[in-house]
């Protein structure tokens, strides 16, 4: 009951004109980002973040959150109309969506994906409110030892669950930890890796890293070639699927919500994995799996519902434990720190008004998005006619402004460019940048909790295994590592045998 009372309180905070306006702005930007290929939600959030410096955290985070789930709505439009996914979680939507569009059912596909996203988004937000608040209450018992083990587990989960190549993901994470040590250390106040550069004394701002490795690197990759997209035309009256279609997809939407929300509560999974899993689930429960790939409506409804519910799922560890569940929530987490908030269980105690207002705003954001994504889809789709060559110089200018805004200096712009080059080649070499970003944010947290835990235990490392919660978390890391290690060895063995045959 407490949750409902708090949520109603959240509505009273967020139902003001500026907050609704920010939710609408975020939804609009998110839909645009989702529709336009070449820039993902994490990069856009990172680019916009410095511009929100000095703003009140509630409207700023309301905007960033609605941008995140707005991108999930918008991503399906390009997948369906041009077979080019606007962002990675809509890749799977293109399989069935584009086939439906070719059969003249683009409106049905777009409508179903918007309706699925809406229901899953609302269900996901309700689940987020209940789960995050209870988890936060439980994690209030955590001391420094538990926090250290939790952060460590969060990092390993991100690698093991989300990483395609474990070694490269681990290396990316360790490099991120190294970047996190740049600046004045927390123990003796000594400068590390600063070499007399005063701008580095405060450390490397995560905004710089994320704008370089996500923002500019993504733009560079998209700008490699002249991109011209010609979307299919959709009429407004075609956009509303029949009630029979919606009724037919009801279980697919529900399954999508379950898969998306609960999978993404585990750090590292993210909406892309959720949408692929949901597609797999739909195919396996279908009575006609052979028709998948030819334009099956539940093949859109499931994954699209799933990627929206995944956004709420990924916010559970971020709000309750201060651990980001995906690249975009890492940006959001960094944003919370930037606004002077303390992500984690204390957020529900110290800034309860803020948390509940943001959660309540997600209901409003979803309502705004269903309005934007049904009648306004033809207008948004026409954005695809703007050549990408005209868009990316503007994005680069905003990145420069964003980097400059971090400390009102050009040093940060230069640093961002260094990260942009690194990010571009990392993308090309298949090295994920998300673990590096998460480690940069969580590294100092980890160092601080290690310092505090050992200080309290007078230097005894046993504190980590004597405390039951910490010991459990560390056991999970060991078990996960064993599982991943054994799987890797078996995989290598199988590959060798196959090669020998």
């Amino acid at each position: 009951m407490d949750v409902i009372t708090n949520l109603l309180g959240g509505f009273s905070t967020c139902l003001t004109l500026p907050n609704i306006g920010m939710a609408a702005l975020g939804a609009f930007l998110g839909t645009m980002v989702g529709i336009l290929p070449g820039l993902g939600p994490s990069a856009t959030m990172a680019i916009i973040l410095p511009i929100t410096f000095g703003m009140d955290p509630t409207p700023a985070v309301i905007m960033l959150c609605s941008l995140y789930y707005g991108a999930m709505y918008g991503g399906s439009t390009t997948s369906i109309l041009v077979n080019v996914p606007g962002e990675s979680s809509s890749v799977v939507t293109a399989i069935e969506g584009y086939q439906l569009a070719r059969q003249g059912k683009a409106g049905t596909a777009l409508g179903l994906s918007a309706i699925g996203s809406f229901f899953a988004g609302i269900l996901g937000t309700i689940s987020l409110a209940f789960l995050a608040s209870n988890l936060a209450e439980y994690s209030l018992k955590f001391g420094p030892a538990e926090m250290f083990s939790l952060v460590l587990m969060g990092m390993f989960t991100i690698i093991y669950v989300g990483g395609k190549d474990i070694t490269k993901s681990l290396m990316s994470m360790v490099i991120g930890l190294g970047l996190g040590t740049v600046g004045t250390d927390i123990v003796q106040g000594q400068p590390r890796f600063t070499y007399g550069v005063s701008e580095l004394l405060d450390g490397i701002d995560f905004v710089i890293l994320v704008m370089g490795t996500f923002g500019i690197a993504e733009v560079l990759e998209s700008a490699e070639e002249y991109m011209k997209i010609v979307p299919m035309k959709v009429r407004l009256r075609e956009l509303f699927p029949s009630l029979a279609d919606i009724w037919y997809c009801r279980w697919a939407i529900l399954r999508g919500y379950f898969v998306g929300f609960f999978i993404c509560c585990v750090p590292g999974s993210g909406p892309t994995i959720a949408s692929f899993l949901s597609y797999g689930v739909e195919k396996s429960v279908s009575k006609h799996p052979e028709k998948f790939g030819t334009g099956v409506i539940e093949g859109i409804a499931g994954p699209e519902s799933s990627n929206n519910a995944a956004v709420s799922g990924a916010m559970v560890p971020m709000f309750a434990l201060g651990i980001p569940g995906s690249g975009a929530t890492a940006v959001l987490l960094g944003g919370l720190i930037m606004y002077g908030l303390k992500p984690g269980p204390m957020l529900f105690v110290d800034n309860a008004d803020f948390v509940w207002a943001v959660m309540a705003s997600m209901f409003i954001g979803n309502i705004i998005l269903i309005i934007m994504n049904l009648p306004l889809v033809p207008a948004f789709a026409s954005l695809l006619r703007i050549p990408y060559g005209l868009i990316y110089p503007a994005i680069l200018i905003i990145c420069i402004v964003g980097a400059f805004a971090v400390a009102s200096g050009l040093f940060e712009v230069g640093l961002m460019l260094v990260f942009a080059v690194c990010g571009y080649f990392m993308k090309k070499g298949g090295v994920p940048a998300a673990p590096m970003l998460m480690a940069l944010i969580m590294g100092p947290m980890m160092e601080r909790s290690l310092y505090q835990a050992l200080n309290l235990s007078h230097g005894s490392m046993l504190v980590f295994i004597q405390r039951p919660i910490s010991a459990t978390l560390l056991s999970v890391i060991v078990l996960m590592s064993l599982y991943v290690g054994i799987r890797a060895i078996m995989g290598k063995k199988a590959a060798v045998e196959e090669a020998e045959e």
């Binding site: 890796f193 503007a394 712009v413 298949g430």
Partner: protein
């Protein structure tokens, strides 16, 4: 991909060495707690181990389908990327002399003209529009304090 992985391994090894060397000039432990050198030391050690593993793995593993894929794009694409990066670096170093609006107008106009093949007029108009709108919002309205050039803006 194999070659790229090996290069990444070597870069990782270099970074590991850098982190280790930095840790040697810092205190490793205080009486009870880790000192400032503790994290850089372990970052160096773990990164070195992972890098060595990656290098060995790329040396002994049989090339897969993924390994045969080219990781860098065609030369003309790489030129485009290189040109954009060069322009960004020029922006970084010329902004203190030319000022924010002029630098960014030139930046956008040159990219549109040379890479996207717009006419001179359209490139300049778009450049002025991009830089003008950004300058108006962030300098005029939000007073962000961008560098001023010889024009005084």
């Amino acid at each position: 991909m194999k070659k790229a992985d090996r290069i990444f391994g070597v870069i990782g090894l270099g970074l590991a060495l850098w982190s280790y060397l930095e840790s040697t000039r810092l205190q490793y432990m205080t009486e009870f707690t880790p000192g400032p050198g503790f994290f850089p030391f372990w970052v160096g050690v773990v990164l070195a181990l992972l890098s060595i593993y990656l290098i060995i793995d790329t040396t002994i593993r049989k090339p897969s389908e993924k390994d045969n894929k080219k990781i860098l794009p065609a030369r003309h694409m790489l030129y485009r990327v290189g040109f954009i990066m060069l322009m960004l670096v020029i922006v970084r170093y010329t902004m203190p002399f030319l000022g924010f609006p002029l630098t960014l107008t030139l930046f956008a106009a040159v990219i549109l003209l040379l890479l996207e093949h717009y006419s001179i007029l359209r490139s300049v108009v778009y450049g002025i529009a991009y830089a003008g709108v950004t300058w108006f919002i962030f300098e005029y309205m939000l007073s962000m304090g961008f560098p001023k050039g010889f024009l005084g803006i």
